[in-house]
Symmetry: C4
Subunit: 226 residues, 4 copies
């Protein structure tokens, strides 16, 4: 997640492009949402949306190429930046970077030692929201015209996303097209990770609580015991 700070130009590039690219990724998501959810818009609007989509995606590709060049890592770059390549191929995941930026801004404004739990939960929550919205859009686009499909409205798609991300999985509505199911598999994986983040936060919060309780005991009574 964190860029290596060994290269000054790389760091400067990332600092300068971080906010514009985050905005671009939100624009990407917005343009995609308008394109998918408002089919009744006149044709020029859809052309505009597609132009936005292509422009922002090009910006992502340029950023990836620039960072590859600046890193000076050559062929090792794609290996050590797999997440970036994934985000380049699936630009709907790109808005996750916004979470990163938001979190960094928050950290600067508030006290630097902001509780790690709050950060992780904020990160997980915002990521779940963005991934859920992007996943709903993608699944809705694939499914709402599929024969025999059960996801007929965008509301259905959002409802299905919630049930998937929390790993509840009612199955009252579920994708039937191959692409829809591929997106669904991705969402399931995100749900697993979300569950892991929530559980891990609770677990470590509890362990910290225990450690603090132990701290009230007289020292020497196995203070490193938890």
């Amino acid at each position: 997640m964190h860029a290596n700070d060994d290269d000054d130009r790389m760091t400067r590039w990332e600092q300068r492009t971080e906010v514009p690219l985050a905005l671009a990724s939100l624009l990407f998501l917005g343009a995609y949402a308008v394109h998918v959810l408002a089919p009744a818009l006149p044709r020029p609007w859809h052309v505009l949306c597609l132009a936005f989509l292509i422009a922002t995606w090009t910006a992502f590709a340029v950023d990836y190429a620039a960072r590859w060049l600046l890193s000076g890592q050559g062929a090792r770059f794609p290996r050590s930046h797999r997440m970036d390549a994934l985000v380049l191929l699936l630009p709907l995941l790109r808005p996750l970077r916004v979470v990163h930026v938001y979190e960094a801004v928050q950290r600067r404004r508030e006290r630097p030692g902001l509780d790690l739990y709050v950060r992780v939960m904020t990160y997980a929550g915002l990521s779940a929201l963005l991934i859920g919205f992007a996943g709903s859009l993608a699944v809705y686009q694939q499914e709402h015209t599929a024969p025999g499909g059960t996801i007929r409205s965008f509301g259905d798609a959002v409802w299905w996303s919630c049930a998937t991300l929390t790993t509840v999985g009612y199955g009252d509505v579920s994708p039937v097209t191959p692409v829809g199911r591929l997106v669904a598999a991705g969402l399931m994986g995100c749900g697993l990770a979300l569950l892991g983040a929530v559980t891990g936060s609770f677990s470590s919060w509890l362990l910290r609580g225990f450690a603090r309780e132990d701290g009230t005991r007289p020292p020497g009574d196995s203070p490193g015991a938890s």
Copy 2:
């Protein structure tokens, strides 16, 4: 969850209003339950229930306003007390405060160092019960007359709540109305948190067990190893 103790008047207010407000929130839940589950009651009873609902909600609003004033934090109060604002908007979540009071009372009566696991599990269990009951009521109210719905009786709603809170999610009955699904999404989130609490408790219990086992080894044999 814990009020800042920096302000004496704030602390006094909270100590005095804690128990009455907890009782008021149970009254709120009870009045809502009677209103929803007993439609055959004569009309005056329903008017009484609604009066109770409005009166208790007003009490919550007054409490929120009083604490805002007493805190002396001005515009920062809503930001640092988001949970309170949420509970004010969704008063069905308010009975969770009862869990807080019950837990505080228990702690005073029994030994203060009551095992944190027991406290967390009690908290999680009682919260799940209250949220499940409130969620069942809200979903039942929305769904039992919805065309094409599958939640027909309050028993169905409770059954659906159990399957949702444990993230099992059979989907044999599931909400179909937008409001019902919104409540369901909230319940799913609670289920995720419940899972996190249970898992985290187990995880930290195990780690404490390991630490205790390590403690029986001769010291110097990496006592801080867990």
Copy 3:
């Protein structure tokens, strides 16, 4: 889980009754299984099964009463032994004690410091097996003659138990009767606990792995860091 060792007579009673009661609880489960799964048996066999059920349950009740008396705790005993009261009311949970005995025997035979992970996983696995079997029996008995039910054979009931205990919850078969759903809610809770045990084991296993890795670093390099 562990009996207080403060009372010698209590400890002796528990040591002497542990194995017979564990066998009795397995007999209970076996007699219940025969009664439920073999309705075609001639009537005397069913009478015998019921006699077994009543006899073993009486033994459990006698054991509970004896331990209450021997504990010398008076009215505090039910509060501090809630699990025992639960097991007395739901004797199908009683075989879980077998797991306890099995685990204790294993510990005596093998090295005492048997890995806690292995113990927890064995405990969780055997408990899941026993609870799943008992739950399948109870649900099958309730559901296989219910109008509109989907659990028609014991195989269906076992399949449903697996999906419930792992919180997968397909919902292709699911209970429809109130008692069946009550049992199901219990199984869901056990599934949640099972998930917690598995996750907690993994989590602590990983943390121990990290601690061991850190142990290879030079000491003084934050040895208590994990």
Copy 4:
């Protein structure tokens, strides 16, 4: 997982057979996949596949026997190598060894102290992929001709595997045959373990993060607190 290093011949045997057996297990999976997914192939191909299956399985059996002999443990070997016996009986699980080899190779090539999280996540991810593929094949073979079944194509089987391994469990498609449900129960267990691995990784990653944060505080401020 790790072989005991106490016996040189055993270690040498394992070092020499590790890679060939891993390849053999992939061949096994491949031959099984061809056999199941290409029923239209001419008969000689299927005979070849079966020959491959038998040959590789024989190799696994020979390896098991050789290691039993070389271990010099006699009757205790099956008890202490239960995983190996399981893999021998269910050779579709054998490719999991490939994950082991891949991970070992990676460790040799890269820095030895490769982050344990990355290793666990890689291990869990690859295992989920292989188990999901093998499970999909087995379930597809059982179900696609079953009367009343819902898993009709291999795509359905893969979709069902994803929903099962992540414990989402939509239930829109689900196995109906006894063998298919047995495989499904195994997949559910793997899903539980996968969830445990993901959650445990997150949890320990967070705890390490906390420990590192605490490390930046002045020493003496409860450095062993996490």
